[in-house]
Amino acid sequence: MLKRQYSIATGLVLLIVLVLLNLPEQPAARIKLALGGLFLPLFGMAGSVQHLTQEVGNSLVPRSTLLKQLEQLRKENEELRQQLMQIQDSWRENAQLRQALGWQRRVPWQLKPARVIGQDPANWWRTIIIDVGLREGLRPNMPVLTAEGLVGRIEKVGPDRSSVVMVGDPNCRFSAQVQDPRDKSIAAKGIISPSVSSMDRLLVDLIYVPGVAVLKPGQSVVTSGDGVTFPKGITVGQIVDVRTNDYGMNLEARVKLAVNLNRLEQVWVLLQ
């Protein structure tokens, strides 16, 4: 009797697994989203509790500290306004020159703020879950960034949440270029891929860099804009060290990411 129960239970579970693993991508993604949707109330509740705790903490901050912070922010705001005025001038000039040369006009970035609500429970993926989705105009492959630099790209989009595959994940390889820190000229191009040898989770590899390139620690790495996903010029990180590969044919550099991916709270989605 027990043996029969064993067989039935095992058979049923195996059947479910086989069906699910052989489902086409679209239905599987839908089922995944539906199942993941069950957690949304919990994520919402946890977010509210965290918000409430923060508010309580904020209310305990002394008035003098708040006034000091306000003064600092006022100064910073003033400086940023002046910088913005200068940038707007440059922007207009740039647009006029592009028009004169017949180049395509640059469209200013349209950014959508998002809160990080969860992370991949498995240790072998680097994905996060954010609280915006289709309703806010998100689509797969949109770049995700912070003020410090690139975070990753949107992988799957649900109505109210999306998953972001971060830089350093095997599913987030892209073309990047190394910039000289002095004149911002392009020193070399390569592919950003996960680092297998490193114990530091904030290190990635820049691979397939031509052997003739001159790479030095401290040089900044930005997106090259060669692919369709990331626009040109988003900061990725800085070169830590360089090694030769394939008998000097290629160079490989370890890159320290500009964004601390372990402590993300708020990100921006670049709507294109």
Partner: protein, 189 residues
């Protein structure tokens, strides 16, 4: 009670998957997230029926995969294998012993991620593996092992709170009660 226990196990599994995704403190601290599902599977396979084991493997695995980049259903198989092995040998295991619980949790927590990664590689996926993964595996194994006796304690308390507890049998038997009275009345006069 069986169904109540099954529901409690599934509810805890749901919460465990949520917490694994929501709390990033441990991952930031030690660089790895602990998986509580193998620990729960050890408890379920030693304390519940085969249907609960199958349900936990299926629902727990699917919930886990729904918040992960894993292909949907890949986590179900390792959990089921662990559950079936322990369930088939449950008569030989000293369930109440903390040491046994810890060792089973250790074995289950070590095996589950290994099986999952092997299944992923078999399916042609490319998980993030390197020297760092060995450390993560160590943390997952140790964390899961430590969580297993805790699981048993929580569920045993739950059972004590929600089930009728048998009164301990005493040696008192009414048919063997010694009747005492004032004894035979002797008249000395």
């Amino acid at each position: 009670m069986n169904w109540l226990n099954t529901i409690a196990i599934l509810l805890i599994a749901f919460l465990a998957v949520f917490l694994e995704s929501y709390f990033r403190g441990l991952r930031n601290l030690v660089g790895a997230q602990i998986d509580l599902l193998p620990a729960l599977m050890v408890y379920a396979s030693l304390s519940a029926g085969i249907s609960t084991v199958a349900l936990l493997a299926t629902l727990g695995g699917l919930w886990f995969d729904s918040l992960s980049a894993n292909p949907l259903g890949i986590t179900v198989l390792p959990l089921l294998v662990i559950g079936l092995i322990i369930h088939s040998g449950r008569d030989l295991i000293l369930r109440e012993q903390r040491y046994a619980q810890f060792m089973l949790g250790l074995a289950a927590s070590a095996t589950a991620p290994l099986f999952t990664v092997l299944a992923l590689l078999g399916l042609g996926a490319e998980p993030l593996l390197g020297w760092w993964s060995l450390w993560q595996w160590f943390i997952m194994t140790l964390g899961g092992a430590a969580a297993t006796p805790l699981c048993f304690r929580v569920f045993d308390r739950f059972q004590r709170a929600f089930t009728y507890q048998k009164l301990p049998e005493t040696s008192f038997r009414p048919d063997r009660e010694i009747k005492r009275d004032r004894g035979p009345h002797l008249d000395y006069h």
